[in-house]
């Protein structure tokens, strides 16, 4: 095996390790947000390593440029998807789909009990508490999620604000 193939093999093994780590995170972490975090970070890096390995094996600049574009687009797609799904998971909605009984998207910090998951009322209560004090129900101060401004005043500053715990404006 040439030196390029050896390097590609090492990169592939590393990439596989990161993919494995992402999947383990998806399966084992306790909460939807930590799962999302583990998954997207590890998978992005895994994809980057795989693209690098394939670029080494491919041997053409055009192919390498295409792989770079694929990786960058993968970063963009994963970032936006993760952000949107995480934001959607924050909404205190009873997004249970019919027939499976009691599935609810609960704010972070609450545990899922499966069939005896949080009811909508207590979820809204906890969310109101969180908005009022900027603190999670267990007292720890956490990053204020993007305040729900109405559409015509959202100036695009909310997701980019540094995480300062402050009361709801």
């Amino acid at each position: 095996m040439s030196i390029l193939q050896v390097a590609a093999t090492i990169l592939l093994v590393l990439g596989g390790f990161f993919y494995f780590a992402g999947t383990v995170g998806l399966l084992r972490f306790p909460d939807v947000h930590s799962r999302l975090h583990a998954l997207t970070k590890a998978d992005n890096l895994g994809l980057g390593l795989v693209c690098l390995a394939m670029a080494l094996l491919g041997g053409s600049w055009r192919g390498a440029a295409m792989l770079l574009v694929i990786w960058l687009l993968g970063l963009l797609a994963a970032t936006v998807s993760c952000h949107l799904v995480a934001q959607a998971a924050l909404e205190p909605a009873a997004a249970g789909d019919g027939g499976s009984g009691g599935e609810a998207i609960a704010p972070m910090g609450r545990s899922y009990g499966g069939a005896d998951a949080v009811t909508e009322a207590s979820a809204e209560e906890a969310d109101a508490t969180r908005r009022r004090t900027g603190a999670w129900p267990d007292g720890s101060i956490a990053e204020q999620p993007a305040p729900r401004r109405s559409a015509d005043t959202s100036s695009g500053a909310s997701p980019a604000d540094p995480p300062t715990p402050r009361g709801d404006p």
Binding site: L76, D97, G98, G99, S100, A146, A151, P159
Partner: protein, 311 residues
Amino acid sequence: MSLALDGLLAIALVVLALQVVAGASLFRGIVMFVVFGLVMALAWARLRAPNLALAEAAIGAGISGALLMLGYRRLRAAGPEATRPGPRSSRLAAPLSLLVAGLVASLGWTALGLPEALGAAGAAVVAAMPSQAVANPVTAVLLVFRGYDTLLELAVLLVALAGARAVEGPAGPAELATPTMTGLPIVGALLAALVPLSVLVAGYLVHAGGNAPGGAFQGGAVLAAAGVLLVLTGRLVPHPVPGPVERWGAVLGLLVFSALGLVMLARGQGMLSMPGAWAIYLVESAMLVSIATTLVLLLGAAPGLRRGPLP
């Protein structure tokens, strides 16, 4: 190793298909269906059919997923009972499915055992390829050897659009509000990156379709996906009156293809014969516009689309 890979793909396809229709939860079925499209594209890739893999990626995994998700949102808006899956299947389901599976298996077994037919169409196409203007046999089959089928497929798309309009009625379906979250700047950045790139990739697929895997259907699906993104994020809003872009876009493919065919007929060279690679690219570009417009209008569920308010 490849046997293990292919075997695992086959098992995954069957398991996913079962999960889609098993129906414990409608949302789970939708996600399983999207995953099924992804694995199907992998299967096409393994079967050395990149054209089909391209089409499956664009339509099966992308647009169908968005369509089903939109349908689920409308169901949710109708009330919480609307998303409850239907009643349990009847007792006939298991024996019937076993019977059908046995029938398919026996047909497959027989087909595999048949000797290779002489003068099969595929061999004839491959033999005729060197004299064609394009090198991609799929494009040659679609536009040169079976151009009539492609023409009628365009007509079917138009009929489907008209049928969807007829079923919805003049008022269109109930309004589906655009969620605030799509006003986030990160979504704007996504659109700014993806929409122009989709136009570029669609053009590239049509251009590459002559000599490499690609083609008008795949390019049209990519362009339609960009349009679907714009509709989903509220940059394009439904409008009860179609504008000239929608009207012309929906019929352009059919018009150009038929016009070319009639011109060739008038010149005595036989209807739908392609006088060169330029004719193929012309027809494919028109098809691209038509397919994209039709798909976006079907998903937007409105006769026309207008630019929406800036978030």
